[in-house]
């Protein structure tokens, strides 16, 4: 939403600094000041987060872990602990939520706020940003960078530019002065391909982009992208901050250390992923109706297949059976590099209960199956994710997956 010029900006973008790595440094004070890298530790894992100490060695997220290790042999390399990050994220989001109900979480470490309605109680956007930064640090030990502007995309650009541990306010009327000198790839939606095409048009900065007419951009980039970038270059972004009440899907992925072609091995992995997804659904008190399988081949070609069930489920057996069915329709011939299972169309698990028609415990959906999976959750909570496995998976030859991602 655009604010009338002169009124203080009220859109905030809050972005925790080196989030995963910072949480690790907080948990283990011995890591403070050291280069900490979090990500998949296997041969083909990638970096999920790097502390600012590690970034000095050129390490950044999405970099192959092997390269990160070469760049910084003395670094601390850790596997991600999503439960800890989720807890920390929840604490921060709670603080953000105390200033306005208009909080739109983008990721565990990132959220937009619209504090336009909080002025009487908490002050202007820039004033609230200062309080948020203080409170997040005092209550969680984490540092958060905040951008304040009149639009979402400017607020995000501002927080990026203020990192780490910074605050940047784009005052109304100064937007184009801030925006136009920025390199064009700073804009949302400018990836490598679009960037190449823009460079061919002689566009290097956002200011260059703003000199081009919309028809020119549409001709070069297509209607949707052309219109989008033209609007951004002129600081037009009328997307509202939309508070999100619930997550839209829950999923789990595994990148393998070697490419798999054996359907039996893949089916086993799918069952394992389904169990983990189900456990997370149950932990969140959610059920979902649509099961999606994602398969990435050795050549990075990715296909997804999904099926909607008759009723929502949070049972690993049911999700696994559906995902294995979907897998049967995919030819693993080219070699499978990554498998993912996710459940969509989520809803809270209030709602109609069902009769235990499969009372003998035979089929999925029976209450005995649910009770069994809940007991397994409890054991895994206490003794770790691998303490209970299906016979199918326990029989598998050892060989940990290279990387995990949420």
């Amino acid at each position: 939403m655009t604010t009338a010029a002169g009124a203080p900006p009220s859109i905030l973008h809050c972005d925790l600094d080196a989030f995963f790595a910072s949480v690790e440094q907080l948990h283990d004070p011995a890591l403070a000041g050291r280069p900490v890298v979090v990500g998949g530790l296997g041969a083909r894992g990638v970096v999920a987060a790097a502390s600012y100490e590690a970034r000095r060695f050129g390490i950044h997220s999405a970099m192959p872990m092997a390269r990160a290790r070469r760049a910084c042999p003395d670094g601390v390399f850790l596997a991600p602990r999503f439960d800890a990050y989720r807890d920390a994220s929840r604490a921060v989001m709670t603080i953000l939520g105390s200033f306005t109900s208009l909080v739109e979480p983008i990721a565990l470490d990132e959220a937009f706020l619209d504090v336009g309605g909080s002025r009487r109680r908490w002050g202007t956007g820039p004033e609230i940003a200062v309080v948020i930064r203080d409170r997040v640090h005092a209550e969680t030990g984490l540092t958060v960078s905040v951008g304040v502007a009149t639009t979402k995309f400017l607020a995000k650009l501002a927080s990026d530019r203020s990192k780490p541990d910074g605050l940047l306010v784009i005052e109304p009327g100064t937007e184009t002065a801030f925006l136009h000198p920025l390199p064009v790839e700073a804009l949302w939606g400018v990836g490598p391909a679009t960037h190449r095409r823009l460079v061919a048009l002689g566009v290097r900065t956002v200011g260059d982009l703003a000199t081009l007419g919309e028809p020119t951009l549409i001709g070069a980039l297509g209607a949707a992208r052309g219109r989008h970038l033209h609007a951004l270059a002129h600081n037009r972004d009328d997307r509202a901050v939309v508070p999100e009440r619930a997550v839209k899907s829950v999923g789990h992925e595994e990148t393998f250390a070697v490419d798999h072609r054996d359907p039996a091995v893949l089916a086993r992995e799918v069952a394992h992923l389904a169990d983990r997804v189900a456990a997370r659904l149950r932990a969140a008190g959610q059920r979902g109706r649509t099961v999606q399988l994602k398969v990435r081949f050795a050549d990075f070609r990715t296909v997804t297949r999904s099926r909607t069930l008759a009723r929502p489920t949070d049972l690993g057996a049911e999700i696994g059976a559906t995902a294995r069915d979907l897998l049967a329709g995919v030819d693993p011939g080219p070699g499978v590099r990554l498998l993912g299972v996710s459940v969509h169309q989520l809803g809270a698990d209030d709602g109609p209960l069902t009769l235990d028609l499969d009372g003998a415990g035979a089929g999925p959906g029976g209450r005995r199956r649910a009770a069994l999976e809940e007991s397994i959750d409890a054991v895994r909570d206490r003794f770790g994710a691998d303490s209970v496995r299906t016979a199918r998976r326990a029989a598998a030859p050892p060989g940990p997956p290279a990387g995990t991602g949420a």
Partner: protein
């Protein structure tokens, strides 16, 4: 083939047979048609979607013999709108010519050779009291599932039970069970699973008087007046329903059926969806209170006079399933027996112990 019929009688017969005609014909377009066969003194009309077949005969004055497949919907719509007392149908080459008063139409027919062969009706049937069966079907059929993902639950179990007949249906949210003592339709410990859709048609056609039931290996035929409704038996094992019915209920509520139904209908107005609205029932020895809460809309509650024997508790039910139960049990007083907010409750009419409606609660936050 040419025949003259009373318009109303033919329209009725076509309307009945047409109810079995497939709504989506898929690979077999001829199934969108009605097969009309002229015999001595009558025509036979057959509609089928392969799961269910309805065959009706009605008297006509005919010339010659023959068969044709007419587009069912169109045929039925035309007959329903015609004026006059009589109508003439004549097959002219590949076309059917229909005339009534000053109206005439020529319709392309479908290929009669492609119409599927119909299951044979066995010779020996069993006579069953139509009124009793109609009442049982009215009580049980609504509880069957309409979701084809679990075919078994789209059927009604007909089982021989203590010398009588037992009907059971469930969609996994509720279960309806009716006993018809003395109705010996099935022998020994025989049990069959009959599609609820076919039984709903049987119920629609049933009047007082006996009907005949013909059980074959793969299907069952109900002969109601001049109509035969044949429906395929569903293969598979019906869930073990007996273990679902609790033997003991700590909490017993008695309430006027009319008052409860009216209160549910009022309270559920305040909801996102009137069908799926969870209706909370708070029960204590002083009576009950129904309530519905809908985010962004509001809330409603109503207290209803009742006698309650048990510990105070609140249970929520899906509004439509609750109303279906209230409708099905009949009588003037309803007994609602509950265990706890998460386990099945039972509704019945204390004066008619032959019927039971088991209902799962809705989990509320």
């Amino acid at each position: 083939m040419k025949f003259r019929a009373e318009r109303e009688a033919l329209a009725d017969a076509v309307g009945t047979a047409q109810r079995a005609v497939a709504s989506r014909t898929g690979a077999l377009p001829v199934l969108s048609g009605l097969r009309v066969t002229l015999g001595p003194g009558s025509v036979e009309l057959v509609g089928s979607d392969l799961e269910m077949t309805i065959r009706v005969t009605t008297p006509v004055q005919g010339e010659g013999e023959g068969s044709a497949v007419l587009p069912a919907r169109l045929f039925a719509d035309i007959l329903a709108r015609l004026d006059g007392d009589t109508v003439t149908v004549e097959l002219v080459g590949e076309d059917a010519r229909i005339e009534a008063g000053r109206f005439a139409t020529t319709l392309r027919t479908l290929s009669v050779g492609e119409f599927p062969r119909l299951p044979e009706v066995p010779e020996n049937g069993v006579r069953v009291d139509g009124a009793a069966l109609a009442e049982s079907l009215r009580q049980v059929v609504p509880a069957a599932s309409r979701d084809d993902a679990r075919p078994i639950l789209t059927g009604v179990l007909l089982a021989a039970h203590e010398g009588g007949l037992r009907l059971v249906a469930t969609d996994s949210y509720r279960l309806a069970m009716r006993d018809l003592p003395g109705v010996s339709m099935l022998a020994g410990d025989q049990r069959v699973l009959v599609g609820a859709k076919g039984l709903a048609e049987v119920q629609r056609l049933l009047r007082d008087g006996d009907i005949e039931v013909f059980l074959a290996e793969r299907d069952v035929t109900f002969r109601v007046g001049s109509a035969d409704i044949t429906t395929r038996l569903i293969e598979g094992e019906f869930p073990n329903y007996q273990q679902l019915i609790p033997s003991d209920y700590p909490n017993r509520l008695k309430v006027s059926r009319d008052l409860l139904g009216a209160a549910v209908n009022r309270v559920r107005l305040v909801s996102q969806s009137r069908d799926t609205a969870p209706i909370r029932i708070r029960m204590n020895p002083d009576g009950i209170e129904l309530s519905a809460v809908a985010q962004d809309i509001g809330e409603a509650h109503e207290s209803v006079e009742a006698t309650f024997d048990g510990g105070e508790l609140t249970v929520a039910f899906n509004a439509q399933f609750l109303l279906d139960g209230i409708e099905s049990v009949g009588g003037s007083v309803i007994e609602l027996e509950t265990q706890d907010p998460l386990r099945p409750a039972v509704m019945r009419n204390p004066e008619a112990p032959d019927f039971l409606y088991l209902l799962m609660p809705v989990r509320i936050a």
